[in-house]
Every structure is written in C-alpha cells, then in structure tokens.
C-alpha cells in the first residue's frame, strides 16, 4: 500500500510543479513502485456500480441451495457414536450464524498427525480487498471470500465436504457449548483493573500511592522478581473461551442461537462456537445432527426450537381446568 501511495504522490506532485523541475524530481525520488491499485481506480462510474452489483449476485448464486446432479457426489455420512467429535463453526456474536461454509478438509497427516481438521469460514466479505492467493482457497471451495477462517478438529467420520453451508440448527437446545472470541481490548491498564489488586487507601497519609502494586516479591532469598509477576500492561484483545454455556433456543429461520451467560468479545464480533469439552456436560449432546444439519433432509424443523425447561412466551401461562 505504501508503494503505490508513493507513486500516487509522485504523479500528483509532478502536475503541481512546472515542467522544468519535473524530471529532476523523478530522478531524486526513484523508488520501487508497486502497481497494485484499488479496484475501481480505472473503471467508469457505471462499471463500478456494475462490479458491486455483480459481486453480490454471484455471492447469492454461490450460497443458494443447489441441486446436486453433478459427478462429485456428496461425501458419505456416518452414524453418530458417543465420544466422536463433531465439526462446529464460526458465527457472529449473539449467535447469529451468517454465511458459514466449510472451506477445506485437512487429513490427519496434513494437520498434526493425530486428528483431522476442517477449515470453516464465516461472514462474506468483498473480494476487492483480498489478494489472489487468499482467494484461491475460496475459489476451490466454490464459496465467496470470508472474513474469518478457523480450524476445528474433527474425527474422521465427521468430515464434511468443502462448500457445505453450516446453519444454526447444527446445535440443539439443551446442548452445552464453548464460545471463543477475542476479548474487548482495554489498552494499557494498571494492576488494579488488570489483576484485581487491592491498591492502597485513599487517605491517612498516603503519598502519591493509591493504585500502585506495592511490593514486587519476597526479598533477599530469590533477590529478584519472579517471572510472570503480575504487573501493569496491555489488557484484553486476546482469545478467551467461555466454557459450558447452555443453548436455550435456536431459531432456524434467521439462524440465531440463544446462549446463556456471558460471552467474550464486543457487540457484533465474530465468535467460534464448539461443542463443549467439559466432561460432565458432554453427555447432553444426544442425537445431534451428524455431521451437520442439512436442510434437504430435515425440512420439517420448526422455526423456533426451545429447551424443555424453558417457558415459551407465546404459549398461555395459566391453564384453568
């Protein structure tokens, strides 16, 4: 980006000066010029509008439900057995699942030698700000480019064909999930906010010491400060997981998950939702859609799925007999 900015400046600067000094300006400021440009630089206005429109239409075509009379058959699906991992997926905060697709399947050997993995991408973005090498993976899968790509470890009988869309109905109410996201960044914070230190009293003679850490360690024996000592520093903007959150309601029409408790991250951020790894809660996953929810097969799913112990607000609260 800096490269062509320089070239832009050179061209603009050249026109401001008189012709006499232009050649000397070019000789003095010779730099390697990158020739990348923003996509609409050389297009006429109606072409710019056309490109934006056509990209949207292409995305709709790619993500629409399609028939599959093609040679590449859908991959074989296996029965769910206890203890097997399912693929899980990325979605927007407040659990709106937006345009999630499976992008790539990595075999055991390609990934880490132990488990297979699936690359899943969420939330479509425009192709104009992605480079060609990044677009290659999306092109191979036949899906629009995604904002976030994450990896999920799966068992071998739970692999899904790249290009399959993933929906909120992949999860069922009553199930427990782990939600991972990047926490809200707080910047450089002091020790009281960051680590919860008590600080010092406000009065009674304290001189300029109200929020400081105080002592930094034992004393003469180590004669140093331990590694990892809690001190002020940058807080937040790191990936954290909230474990064991229960799903109370799933809306299949708008792809919304209603999840208990608090979830890391700010409003409208991207989160990664997985089936929980907590041993006492993993048994709650009984007969889930395996490997994922396919709309062609299970078409008779109600729009809203509620947990058994949840009162559905549309039903009458009292039944007088």
């Amino acid at each position: 980006m800096a490269g062509w900015t320089c070239r832009f400046l050179l061209q603009r600067g050249a026109r401001l000066l008189s012709p006499r000094t232009e050649s000397s300006l070019f000789i003095a400021c010779r730099r390697t010029v990158k020739t990348t440009t923003w996509f609409e630089e050389h297009l006429t206005e109606d072409n710019q509008e056309y490109m934006r429109k056509i990209v949207g239409e292409d995305y709709r075509k790619l993500t629409a439900e399609r028939l599959n009379p093609l040679k590449d058959e859908p991959w074989p699906r296996h029965e769910w057995t206890e203890g097997r991992g399912r693929p899980k997926f990325t979605s927007l905060l407040h659990a709106v699942v937006q345009d999630c697709h499976v992008l790539k399947y990595l075999t055991k050997d390609e990934y880490d030698g132990r488990t297979a993995a699936l690359l899943v991408g969420g939330k479509n973005v425009s192709p104009f700000h992605r480079s060609e090498s990044e677009m290659e993976m999306f092109r191979n899968a036949g899906v629009p480019p995604k904002q976030k790509v994450s990896t999920f470890k799966v068992s071998d009988n739970a692999i899904i064909k790249p290009g399959t869309p993933l929906y909120a109905a992949h999860f069922r109410p009553g199930q427990y999930v782990d939600v991972t996201a990047k926490t809200i960044g707080k910047g450089f914070q002091g020790v009281m906010k960051r680590w919860g230190f008590k600080g010092q009293p406000a009065t009674h003679g304290q001189t300029k010491t109200h929020r400081r850490p105080g002592a930094s360690g034992p004393g003469g024996d180590p004669a140093r400060v331990w590694k990892g000592k809690k001190m002020p520093g940058k807080m937040g903007n790191i990936i954290r997981t909230a474990h064991g959150l229960k799903i109370w309601r799933v809306n299949t029409k708008y792809n919304v998950l209603y999840v208990n408790g608090s979830v890391p991250g700010h409003r409208n951020c991207l989160v990664k939702i997985r089936d929980t790894t907590l041993p006492l809660r993993s048994a709650s996953i009984l007969n889930p859609p395996f490997p994922t929810y396919f709309t062609e097969e299970e078409e008779d799913l109600a729009e809203d799925l509620y947990d058994e112990s949840l009162f559905v607000h549309t039903e009458p609260s009292l039944a007088l007999t």
């Binding site: 050249a14 232009e22 050649s23 020739t35 996509f39 490109m51 104009f128």
Partner: protein, 315 residues
C-alpha cells in the same frame, strides 16, 4: 475413406519433401529482417543534410511549446523526450495535423503535434490501436511458439472493436495439428511467451514501403503476398505499412502503439477452430490485455477473462 487417407499420405510425402526445400523459420525471419533494415537505411539516407522543421505541441500544459526538430529523422517520440519522462512513458500514438501517426515514424514537415495517451477524454483511436498491437503481438508469439516441424501461417486478423471482449489473431496451423486442441497448460505457455516480449519492451518500428518491397520481404509466403496485393489496392496512396517488433516483420493497415511494454496484463485465453478455408483449418487465437496505465483488480480481470474465452465473431 481409402482415397482420403491415400490423399493425406501423398500430401504428407510431398509436404515433407517441400519442407526439406522450404527454408526454416529462423532463415525466413532473418531474410525479412535484412530486407526491412535495408529499406529502412535506404529511407534514412534520403536526408543526408539536416534540415530543420518546426513542431508546435498541443495538449494540456503544452500550449505554445515550439520544438525545432530534424526533418526525416525526428519522431514524435523524440519530441516527447524533449518534454518529460511522463510524456515518454505514457504516449501511445501521436496526432500530426489531425492524422494518426505512429510514435516512431519520422516527421516530414512542420506540423502541429498532439501526443495521445490512454487517459485522454476520447481514447477510442488509442484503444483500437492497442487492440491491434496486442493481436500483432499474439501473432508474433504464435509464429515462434511452435516447433520447427510445424508451419504456422498468420492470416489477416479481423479488426474487432475493443467492446467485443477479446482481440483475435487468425492463424492456420500445420495440417498435422488439425486435431490438436490446446490445453490450459499450452495457453499458459503462450502467455508466458507474450509476457517475455512485453518485458523486453520492444518498439514497433514503422516503415512505409512500396508493394514491390513488401513482396520481397514476404517472398517465402504466398498467403502474405496475396495480403500485400489486397492491401496495396485498398490504400489510396499505394504504399503499405510494415512494422518490425524485435525480429518479426508484420503488415498492418492502421497505426500500432509505440512499444510492447505498454501492455501490462496479457493473457492468451482461447484457440477456437473456425472451419476450413483456402489455406487449411482456420483457427482464431483470442487474448485479453490491459495497458499499464489502466490495470485491473484481479476480480475485474477474472470477469473480463471469462468473457474473453468466448468466440468473437467478426461483425
């Protein structure tokens, strides 16, 4: 069926005999080059004494500029070199007294000169010249791409407008290649050849010649000689324009751009078969290219490229 195979057999026998007599492609190229250089030096020698002409420049920021140049030696490119490097790199064609003039053609009289770029208000003529030059470049690549056993005949390429989606180069390949359909890999290798020529930044040197000289240049090639005769009859002045790019000499009825380095994105997209003609199986090679000043984002380029693969029909 037996007679057909017998005919092909006999043709091949005679063809191989003719091939032994026919000069190799390298010899043909060096002969054409030699004749071109001879004619060029002869035309240059017509101006032994330096006579001055006055060239008044027209264009944004150049009003009132008067350059004193040499008659028969200075070209619009040398006028641009007196101005700035920007003018040198961005000029594609020149407009001399309202007439389109290739950038390397010498100026004969005092005139009004305007340098044309791709970013003018009305770049139609420049775009058309660019399309024609790209098709000439494609022809040059095709001539040099095949092995020596196979003949390649370049036919007169149709002058398609830029809006048709791709530039074409009509070619007739060796009869042995009638059933050959190029794979993506072969198209990519043709693209690589074209990119090499673009990287070398060879100028398109123009030359106005009489039909007799042109016939001598293309003395090994009957198809080209017919084309020479037809073009000479179409032209009111009776002269023809030859262009030389590297060591490849070609005919063109209208001006071409200044040099090959002006194209940046170049891709050979398809090779379609049109049907048999008087010289053999006609094939149309199509390509897509954009100049350095108007580069496209890869999304836009992929869209254009998909369209360039479709057959372009001469309207």
């Amino acid at each position: 069926m037996a007679t057909k195979s017998g005919c092909i057999f006999i043709q091949r026998r005679f063809a191989s005999a003719a091939a032994a007599v026919r000069p190799s492609a390298a010899e043909v190229r060096s002969h054409r080059n030699a004749v071109f250089l001879r004619e060029q030096s002869r035309q240059r020698a017509l101006f032994p004494r330096i006579e001055k002409i006055e060239v008044s420049m027209q264009g944004p920021g150049l009003e009132g500029t008067l350059l004193v140049m040499n008659k028969g030696m200075s070209t619009p490119l040398s006028c641009a070199r007196h101005l700035t490097e920007y003018h040198v790199t961005s000029s594609v064609l020149a407009l001399v007294d309202g007439e389109l003039w290739p950038l390397h053609k010498p100026l004969m009289d005092s005139c009004a000169l305007r340098l044309l770029t791709f970013k003018d208000r009305d770049p139609t003529a420049v775009n058309q010249a660019f399309w024609r030059s790209c098709s000439a470049l494609l022809g040059q690549v095709l001539e040099t791409a095949f092995k020596d056993d196979f003949t390649v005949e370049l036919l007169r390429s149709p002058d398609v407008p830029v809006t048709s989606g791709a530039f074409c180069c009509d070619v007739v390949l060796d009869p042995q290649l009638d059933s050959w359909a190029p794979s993506q890999e072969s198209l990519r290798s043709l693209t690589r050849g074209a990119q090499l020529l673009i990287h070398l930044d060879l100028p398109f040197e123009p030359l106005d010649v009489l039909p007799s000289v042109a016939l001598e240049v293309f003395s090994h090639n009957k198809c080209k000689q017919e084309e020479v005769v037809k073009m000479a009859s179409e032209n009111p002045t009776g002269t023809l324009q030859l262009y030389r790019c590297g060591d490849h000499v070609l005919l063109s009825s209208s001006p071409l751009v200044a040099r090959t380095g002006l194209c940046s994105q170049f891709e050979v997209t398809a090779l379609h078969s049109l049907g048999s003609g008087p010289w053999g199986l006609h094939r149309r090679a199509q390509g897509l290219s954009l100049p350095t000043q108007l580069q496209a984002h890869h999304t836009v380029w992929n869209k254009l490229r998909k369209r360039a693969e479709k057959l372009v029909r001469k309207s």
